[in-house]
């Protein structure tokens, strides 16, 4: 799995409560929406990190295991749910689901860790922060559906695309947080 993160934390060999204590400290240095990878060997850290994230408003993305090491991914809280969406062209999850068979361009603007754990089959991953420089990888004339977790990052991304001569862009609301259609993972 190739996941780009903003911060790595090595908590290997540490017993409970230290993986959470260290994560809590490390995450304060991150910007909202940034992703931290925590490496741990304490088996209990998965359930605890998930519960802690939920309580503290951070987004627990997932955990993978390799050679006895757990790789946890957490995205710092952003309060993005409260932001106002401004891009006028939207489509809801079920409408997008009906279009999956067609030749459309689905752009997933979440962080690479979020994409890695679960995304719509065929979706292209370009995190919002990389969109400006990577926009050229995309087809301006194709029907384009922009998706994130709750519809806010994709709102901003849709606006950016429309401002750059993309002709047929729709923001998918709410996005992956409520997605019931097919998914795949690349972890």
């Amino acid at each position: 799995m190739n996941i780009t993160v903003n911060e790595h934390l090595d908590a290997k060999g540490l017993a409970c409560p230290m993986p959470i204590v260290k994560t809590k400290k490390a995450i304060t240095a991150l910007e909202p929406g940034q992703v931290i990878e925590i490496q741990a060997t304490d088996k209990g850290s998965t359930a605890d990190l998930e519960a802690w994230s939920k309580k503290s408003g951070h987004q627990y993305i997932g955990t993978s295991e390799k050679d006895g090491v757990l790789y946890h991914y957490v995205r710092k809280s952003t309060g993005e749910e409260s932001e106002e969406k401004t891009f006028p062209h939207v489509i809801d999850n079920s409408e997008l689901q009906e279009k999956l068979e067609r030749d459309v361009q689905i752009l997933d603007v979440r962080e690479s860790a979020e994409y890695a754990f679960s995304h719509i089959p065929g979706a292209v991953s370009v995190p919002l922060g990389e969109l400006d420089e990577r926009m050229k990888e995309l087809d301006k004339n194709k029907e384009t559906y922009v998706v994130c977790r709750t519809g806010n990052r994709s709102d901003m991304a849709s606006q950016k695309l429309a401002d750059n001569e993309f002709t047929n862009v729709k923001n998918v609301v709410p996005g992956m947080s409520d997605w019931n259609g097919p998914t795949e993972s690349s972890k």
């Binding site: 017993a15 409970c16 409560p17 959470i20 088996k43 209990g44 359930a47 519960a51 802690w52």
Partner: protein, 375 residues
């Protein structure tokens, strides 16, 4: 104020003696909901340690000042941290040494009766609801349904100056890892298993057959094997000294065995009924039933033992009083509780097919016992 470590044995004593204790369990909410230290006389509060990292002030007012306070977590570290924070606030507080992991492994030997020139002990595993037995007579001992904490049994035999001659499992366990084979290997004892449960095992064992008698000590305690299928196809009960009925996972004090843990509920429900309603009916009502598990603290007597006369169970255990066969069938095949954690891996371990390390074994056994179906 200094923080004290409380041992699992001290907690066990308070459970049995129904003493007060206020438990602040700092594991996450799912772990707590799944499994905790059970006692009718304890009070509980569950606040995950990760909600207390910034301080314990908010929970202080909810902790009674007139009760002893014990902080509990999975392994010890978090409870120690929270206990120190509480202590810094001026509270007198202990933490559970070794956490729930150690609690799960703690065995408390309780004498259940005298035998000719000997004694019968029940080893109560309060944290997991498992019951093991050791029969001693004139310098020799037999162990039934030993848990994986084999040192406890071996050391107990040493203290009592008896030689372990025979080790039995009533059936192939699905909820905990058997220590039977290891004890037999370490002591040179004979390890007995019901052959119908042992078809896939990868080690040598002595096959138990119906009606078989094994003698311990020269005053002769007869251990009679009584084929009693239902929980597993090979399930076997033992009658010791014509007075004690070791019922394995077939009959408990307040419930009966579940027939589905090897995936064969439909096939085995008939055997279970036959055993409980016919074979056990032929036995003396004066036999003292000693099961391999208990599920709820009500099943534990004031002396810490789990035992009841067979006649009393025929009156009071609802699972023995369902006249209608189809009702019985639906009771024990439908509405079953969830299967024990890792039951497939535990079965594989008990067959010798996999050999997990100690950490893995502990992890596999975490969680409550779920061998029974309550009628």
């Amino acid at each position: 104020m200094a923080v004290k470590a409380m041992k699992a044995s001290e907690v066990a004593r308070r459970v049995v003696e129904k003493k007060d204790l206020f438990i602040l369990d700092v594991r996450n909410e799912d772990a707590y909901a799944d499994w905790k230290i059970e006692s009718d006389s304890f009070q509980y509060m569950n606040v995950p340690y990760f909600e207390l990292l910034d301080g314990v002030e908010e929970i202080m007012e909810n902790i009674p000042k007139d009760k002893e306070l014990l902080v509990v977590c999975a392994k010890e570290g978090s409870s120690q941290m929270v206990a120190e924070m509480l202590s810094d606030e001026g509270m007198e507080v202990s933490y559970l040494e070794g956490g729930m992991k150690t609690w799960s492994e703690h065995l408390e030997p309780v004498k259940v009766g005298d035998l000719p020139n000997g004694e019968l002990y029940q080893f109560v595993r309060l944290g997991k609801g498992c019951l093991s037995y050791m029969a001693l007579s004139n310098g020799e001992a037999a162990i039934i349904d030993a848990t994986r904490m084999t040192d406890v049994f071996i050391n107990f035999a040493k203290e009592k100056e008896v030689k372990i001659k025979h080790v039995f499992d009533t059936h192939l366990h699905a909820d905990h890892i058997s220590g039977g084979r290891e004890i037999a290997e370490k002591t040179g004892a004979v390890y007995w298993l019901p052959p119908k449960d042992a078809e896939e095992v990868v080690f040598e064992y002595e096959p138990l057959t119906d009606g078989e008698q094994v003698r311990i000590g020269d005053t002769a305690i007869d251990i009679n094997a009584l084929y009693s299928p239902g929980h597993t196809i090979g399930s076997t009960s033992f009658v010791i000294d014509n007075r004690f009925l070791l019922s394995g996972d077939i009959l408990f004090i307040d419930s009966i065995g579940r027939p589905d843990l090897a995936g064969k509920a439909e096939d085995w429900v008939g055997d279970l009924r036959e055993t409980l309603y016919s074979r056990y009916r032929e036995l003396s009502e004066d036999l003292v039933v000693l099961p391999a598990h208990f599920m709820i603290m009500e099943e534990v007597n004031d002396d810490g033992s789990v035992q009841e006369k067979l006649g009393t169970l025929f009156e009071k255990n609802h699972g023995l009083n369902i006249e209608d066969e189809s009702k019985f069938r639906s009771l024990v095949t439908e509405n079953l509780p969830p299967q024990p954690n890792s039951h497939q891996e535990i079965r594989q371990t008990n067959m010798g097919k996999i050999t997990p390390d100690i950490d893995k074994k502990q992890e596999m056994e975490i969680g409550p016992n779920r061998c029974a179906v309550k009628a």
